[in-house]
């Protein structure tokens, strides 16, 4: 979504067959004292893939990252690289590099020396070192600061140095620990473009930890949603957004109208359900028994106002209680008595929202836009 107007060259990955997985986390578990930070986590990482680990703080995403890097030994489980377990290898023996949250640039070395560090300690010959460092500084556009010390750089520039320092080692896998957390919103969007372009150019797999769902959606080929040390769902951004497995995932990615209801009857993939006295239809790929509790997720952009919805659709009457202008759209709050709905309507130049606060309106959504999920026990 942010990539449309960049000028960088891109080599599009063929979309046919998914590349093979080269790194597998198998039942990875980590305890701190008696509490599990990560529990039975299994995940395959494919060549050249951009994965984000997404979840609230304390969900175990950073612990997972640090186990892959080798800073924390797992309590149980395996990390298979090309089918070899690397759990017992120290960080320096793993073909993995990390971009740290605080960048961790060496304060006593210049930008150039920082980027050169990984090649120097590995004994790469000087001439090759020079060439690779220069190339990488060019790629992240910090060549002009090569002789400066990190403390004289801005946050965004330091971030680029950290990226160059890790990537110059040509890792099989790059780990990024909340890399954009310290940057302001505008810079964050710029860096997202840099990250995505670099990842495609170099065709290196990235595993990126974040708690920012917009960042995860903008960057990832696949998002891993975590909660309390376990994976809730792994899917593409579109898949997660439109087909969340439970209310947690639905709520964590973007804004949604979440309801709890009961199945009245099911016909194919359409379920008639009841919630707080309202009857509506929703779509599912699961089987619900009559009377079974279920969760409903309805994205605000799926709600239509005063439009010609058919009798098959869900149509209700409500009162407009709030209108917020958000540039690209209007955000409305609609009260139907039992529930406050959030709706988005596109904003057109020179027109208002088309409704006023206090106005009674009819609104609704198509049954297939209403996503149903199993309620957890």
């Amino acid at each position: 979504m942010y990539l449309s107007n960049t000028t960088a060259v891109r080599h599009d990955i063929p979309q046919t067959a998914a590349p093979p997985a080269f790194l597998s986390l198998v039942n990875l578990t980590r305890y701190y004292d008696a509490t599990a930070a990560v529990r039975g986590l299994s995940l395959d990482v494919r060549e050249g893939e951009y994965i984000t680990l997404l979840g609230p703080s304390g969900c175990g995403k950073t612990t997972t990252l640090r186990m892959i890097a080798g800073f924390i030994p797992p309590s149980a489980g395996q990390i298979l690289l090309d089918n070899r377990d690397i759990v017992h290898l120290p960080p320096e023996k793993r073909p993995v590099n990390t971009v740290f949250q605080d960048y961790a640039l060496f304060p006593h070395l210049t930008v150039e020396q920082n980027v050169e560090y990984g090649l120097r300690v590995r004994g790469v010959p000087r001439s090759e070192r020079r060439a690779r460092v220069a190339d990488m500084l060019e790629r992240v556009q910090i060549a002009e600061f090569a002789r400066r010390y990190p403390r004289y750089l801005s946050g965004g520039q330091q971030q680029r140095v950290a990226l160059a320092r890790a990537l110059v080692c040509r890792p099989r896998l790059l780990l990024l620990d909340e890399p954009l957390g310290a940057l302001d919103a505008r810079l964050r969007e710029q860096m997202q473009i840099v990250l995505k372009d670099l990842q495609r150019e170099l065709n290196i797999a990235f595993v990126h930890v974040t708690h920012d769902q917009a960042e995860a959606m903008a960057l990832a080929d696949r998002i891993v949603v975590m909660r309390a040390g376990v994976i809730e769902q792994v899917d593409s951004p579109e898949g997660l957004y439109h087909r969340p497995v439970n209310d947690f995932v639905a709520d964590f990615l973007g804004t949604t109208n979440l309801l709890k209801g009961r199945c009245v009857s099911q016909e194919g993939d359409i379920v008639l359900l009841e919630t707080d006295g309202l009857r509506m239809r929703g779509r599912t790929h699961l089987q619900f028994a009559a009377g079974e509790t279920l969760h409903v997720s309805l994205r605000p952009s799926c709600i239509h106002l005063n439009s010609s919805l058919s009798a098959q659709d869900n149509v209700f009457d409500g009162r407009v209680e709030g209108i917020v202008y958000r540039g690209e759209n209007w955000l409305l709050r609609i009260n139907t008595g039992a529930y406050h709905w959030i709706a988005l309507t596109p904003a057109r130049t020179g027109s208002d929202a088309g409704v006023q606060i206090g106005q009674n309106i009819s609104f609704g959504w198509r049954a297939e836009d209403c996503w149903l999920m199993k309620a957890e026990a």
Binding site: A69, G70, F71, P90, P91, E92, V96, N97, T98, F100, Q101, D102, A104, L105, F106, P107, H108, Y117, G118, V121, R122, R165, A166, C169
Partner: protein, 258 residues
């Protein structure tokens, strides 16, 4: 700041510094005096004869040499022990590490008199003859905590992610120590060494207990005072004060540099 407050501020500062340094200034003035009465005011300026007298004074020069030997050797040993201990305490939270830290710091806070007597009893119970070596050992005991605390506080402010980043980039533990940790400790270490040397150079109580015939500069100085003040002792005191001030200023510069 208003005019009055500025005035009060400077007056106050002058008072404090006067209180602290006036006695030393008086001694320095006498050191540059022409007469041989070291206490009659005002001194009859200006002459360097008493400083020249020190240069001709064999015993004094020998004491100076001893002080430097003791200082250099003791500080070197303390630097190794103190740095190693700081790393141990910082890196490993072992059972009793707080007690270990407390015990290591103790000699810096125990009165020199007590430490001196304790060491003297210790040495004589082991039949160790008092010499320069016992002086050096004694100095190491109270210099180690000085280095330890300086290095430890620096380590605690040093982000652990530097070392992790180094390992992550392919450096082993030794490379990491040499290329990342040590360079970041350098200024702190130099500062701590200078400060420790100053403490060693000025020490008298502890040295008094554990030396035999060999005298360090402060001991030589003390010995002469028993025969009364002379312009030579004034000159010597002036040199020691200036030397200490220079060392402390340098130490401060390094410790605050980072």
């Amino acid at each position: 700041m208003s005019q009055l407050r500025r005035l009060v501020f400077w007056f106050y500062a002058l008072l404090i510094y006067g209180f602290l340094f006036l006695p030393m200034v008086v001694i320095a003035l006498f050191a540059f005096g022409r007469g041989d009465n070291p206490t009659r005011w005002p001194p009859d300026l200006l002459s360097l004869q008493w400083f020249e007298a020190i240069l001709r004074d064999e015993a004094m020069l020998k004491a100076l040499r001893n002080s430097f030997i003791v200082g250099l050797v003791a500080v070197s040993i303390a630097a190794l022990l103190g740095t190693a201990a700081a790393f141990a305490i910082h890196r490993y939270r072992f059972r009793g590490s707080a007690i270990f830290y407390g015990l290591t710091m103790l000699p810096a806070f125990v009165p020199g008199l007590v430490l001196g007597i304790a060491l003297l009893i210790f040495f004589s119970s082991l039949d160790v003859e008092l010499s320069m070596l016992t002086v050096i050992i004694a100095h190491v005991t109270f210099l180690t905590p000085v280095i330890l605390s300086a290095v430890l506080s620096r380590l605690e402010r040093l982000s652990p992610s530097y070392e992790q980043a180094s390992r992550d980039l392919g450096a082993n533990a030794w490379q990491t120590f040499g290329l990342v940790t040590l360079p970041n400790l350098r200024t702190t270490l130099i500062g701590a060494l200078l400060f420790a040397f100053t403490l060693s150079f000025d020490n008298i109580v502890l040295t008094f207990f554990v030396t035999s015939f060999e005298k360090t500069l402060p001991l030589e100085f003390w010995g002469r005072l028993r025969f009364g003040l002379t312009p030579v002792t004034n000159a010597l005191a002036t040199i020691m004060v200036v030397f200490s001030i220079v060392l402390i200023l340098a130490a401060n510069r390094f410790m605050n540099a980072e």
